[in-house]
Amino acid sequence: MRSGDPELSRLVERVQSARAGHIALDIQGGGSKHFYAELPRGEPLDMRPLAGISSYEPSELVVTARAGTTLAELESVLAERGQCLAFEPPRWAPGCTVGGMIAAGLSGPSRASAGAVRDFTLGLTLLNGYGEVLTFGGQVMKNVAGYDVSRLVTGSWGVLGAICEVSIKVLPMRPAVATLGFSLDEPTALALLLTWGARPLPLHASAWLDGRLTVRLAGARAAVEQAGKELCAAVPGGELLGQQDAGHWWDSIRDHHHAFFAFTAAERARGECLWRLSVPSTSPPLALAGQQLIEWGGALRWWRTEAPAAAMRAAAANAGGHATLVRAAEKRAGAFAPLGASAMRIHRGLKAAFDPAGIFNPGRLYAGL
């Protein structure tokens, strides 16, 4: 990224004056994840003018884009060359940006098989709290020069600095995709997913909701066909779903358009919340009240519930995972699971190392960061 870029210079100046005046900055992209994490506060720092794809070489499997580039633009440019973001980042609203995708570190339905955003982050340019423009990682697949700051910044919710540009590994789209549907209760579905996951099958995504398990296969044409037939035959009533319906279904899970994720004002007022429980895939069904959507072969369990935060956090912790309060009328219990004392000390140290004046997204991840 060129240091003489006028948009970048404008951002550097904003950060330097914010640092001098101890002014909090709320780093903003498309605003699609404003509801996630803790409440944003501070003056808006709009990253959208810093937009555009800086370089894209399909044969290198790398795209470099500026933070304000919309995900819609990036995905359509990749699709023209038969490539994609294999981790299927959520597009919770139109206008969501590449910078927001990296800062939130969230991945979609294919995460368990394809990997997470951080697995595909090769390098990035960060504007830190000193007003310095720093580049870590690079545009190559393998790079162990220095600490892996690019991956540390991925999912940091902006507390370490403003992401200006990022290089991402892209992959060819899978030649064949098929979606299968099964009627199964939760324990049977979870057990089956574990069994299938330990076999060399082209499993790509899974979702269980209301007694229905949906499984997506993706890979070489022959492998998908073969596995599709075998798995349909393995469960009575197993069926192959139409491509178009299946596409809409997976998009509704990825982008949270599905009714499961929609809340009326009344439901919200009643205290109904959306929780995201990330747990080992081997966790048995969680005995909680509410409605559940299970993704990632059992490793991601979304809950709509009025259960108290303490119960949700304890259930996740007992299973060896953590619970995030995603949607709620208020998040007094904290959006993210609290950290242990040692981990919190490292977090504070890192905040001070990148943003000593505490200007970037203060409190967005944890109080005091």
Binding site: L134, F136, V140, K142, A145, R151, H322, L350, A352
Partner: protein, 488 residues
């Protein structure tokens, strides 16, 4: 207190933590620990400790922290950048006794192992369940998972299956002050910042890892390998780009140049084409039907890019024979030269041929030979510079040759190390790849984990003074690279 008295005091305190055989302090006992796989650098540590329990490690770290004694963690000592080079006033902390496989979870595809477990031992323990651990550095028979975590090790199959960072879910261990800590978990993510990503590849500078949870993957039903010959390196380089551009991600995609092929052939008799300027090894794995389809597509692309000879493995024995020369590239080089220095930079794939030509020029410039083996699919180069370490003049030219390769890689848009780490070997090259502000950010990151600076001091991130001196040296040679980079 004098230094000697302080050291005696320290060793006495250590003896209260560890049984007699677990502390090596006499010179003849510590000699095997003086270097790692980068034998050109040697240092004698204050002592070597071989703890057997977590409680012992905790006590050792607390003692070192209280007395300000540096700690250098060590696995099998196979690292190639001097990351485990001892500190003259420090303790070399061997994790060799942490060699237990704690559990394999077949349904869930994970294993929990101690950090001294050998890489290949994980796959062996998982094999009865039809699973394996994917990252396979060439040293996998000996290297430990703890060392793999420290270096973010790769291997010939990481193009498709990823590096250590993509295959480790969590680690447990200790901070420099002896506090117990866990990064990541058995779930697919953890609350807060992704500290696990920072710790993986941190070369023992941020924490001491005693336990690792790895992701296992189902063994493919079948794997087949294509060996393709090319009459010039340009068409071999172009073939690599064409394979990727055609939408195929091979399970492995390796390139060897003519002299490497000759050395490997002499060492293992793999049946390599000795006439070719370069050969490519291109592997497909999956179900029978999947592999058949992919091998067909690969052959088409390789032919179109000018392959002069194509051979496809028809049995597992033949496939392993194809790989045997590649996996033995380093020892094979030892057979044609008294010593060799292995470089490890990464460049964009499209620059492969250009880089091979540049290295040919450097052979003339520095008067030393070089054989080349590349993880071509990732653009990760392993040029092996041939020299005689007993000749100081050759050693000096070898270092300049290596630095030239690294700096050329940075200029081509690459990085000075793809998988071997910076260690002590590439400290100067870090001055070229990163600005002063970037290096200072690294140093502050380190301090957030290890404020006293006791974990593996002096590695990975060069001091500002060192970079200033390195900058001056280059001015003396009249060839200051990258004048646009700030220097302090």
């Amino acid at each position: 207190m004098t230094d000697i008295a302080r050291q005696t005091d320290f060793l006495t305190a250590l003896a209260r933590i560890l049984p007699a055989g677990a502390i090596l302090a006499r010179r003849e006992d510590t000699a095997p620990y003086e270097c790692d796989g980068l034998t050109a650098y040697r240092e004698s540590p204050l002592c070597v400790v071989l703890p057997d329990t977590r409680a012992q490690i905790e006590a050792i770290l607390k003692l070192c922290h209280a007395q300000g004694v540096p700690i250098v963690a060590r696995g099998a000592g196979t690292g190639l950048s001097g990351g485990a080079l001892p500190h003259p006033r420090g303790v070399s902390l061997s994790l060799a006794k942490f060699n237990r496989i704690l559990k394999v979870v077949p349904l869930g595809c994970t294993a929990v192992v101690e950090s001294g477990v050998r890489n290949l031992a994980i796959s062996e323990a998982a094999a009865p369940f039809g699973l394996y651990y994917a990252p396979d550095p060439s040293s996998q028979l000996a290297c430990t998972i703890g060392g793999n975590v420290a270096e973010n090790a790769g291997g010939v199959h990481c193009l498709k299956y990823g590096l250590t960072v993509h295959n480790v879910l969590g680690v447990k261990g200790f901070m420099a002050n002896g506090e117990s800590i866990e990064f990541g978990s058995a779930a697919l993510d953890a609350a807060g910042l992704d500290l696990l990503s920072a710790v993986i590849g941190s070369e023992g500078m941020l924490a001491i890892v005693t336990e690792v949870t790895v992701r296992l993957i189902p063994q493919p039903q079948v794997a087949r390998c294509i060996m393709a010959s090319y009459a010039d390196v340009e068409s071999a380089g172009a073939a690599v780009a064409s394979i990727i551009a055609s939408g195929i991600i091979p399970a492995g995609l390796e390139l060897m140049d003519k002299r490497m092929t000759a050395a490997a052939e002499a060492f293992v008799q793999a049946g390599y084409d000795l006439e070719a300027a370069a050969i490519l090894l291109c592997e497909s794995d999956g179900t029978e039907i999947e592999v058949e389809e992919e091998i067909g597509r690969m052959i088409t692309v390789l032919r179109e890019s000018g392959a002069t000879r194509i051979e496809v493995s028809t049995s597992e024995a033949q496939r392993l024979r194809f790989w045997s020369g590649r996996k033995n590239a380093f020892p094979a080089s030892g057979g044609i030269s008294p010593d060799y220095m292995c470089m490890d930079s990464t460049i964009p794939r499209k620059r492969l041929a250009q880089m091979l030509r540049a290295i040919e020029g450097m052979e003339q410039k520095y008067g030393l030979g070089c054989v080349n083996v590349f993880h071509a699919g990732d653009g990760n180069l392993h040029p092996l510079i041939l020299y005689d370490a007993s000749d100081p003049e050759q050693r000096r030219r070898c270092e300049l040759f290596g630095a030239d390769i690294l700096e050329t890689s940075v200029r081509m848009g690459g990085t000075v190390t793809g998988e071997h780490g910076v260690g002590v070997e590439k400290l100067n090259s870090m001055c070229v790849q990163f600005s002063g502000a970037e290096r200072e950010q690294f140093l502050r990151l380190k301090a957030a984990f290890d404020p006293a600076g006791l974990l593996n001091p002096g590695k990975v991130i060069p001091s500002l003074q060192r970079c200033a001196e390195y900058g001056k040296m280059h001015v003396h040679h009249g060839m200051l690279p990258f004048p646009e980079l700030p220097r302090f």
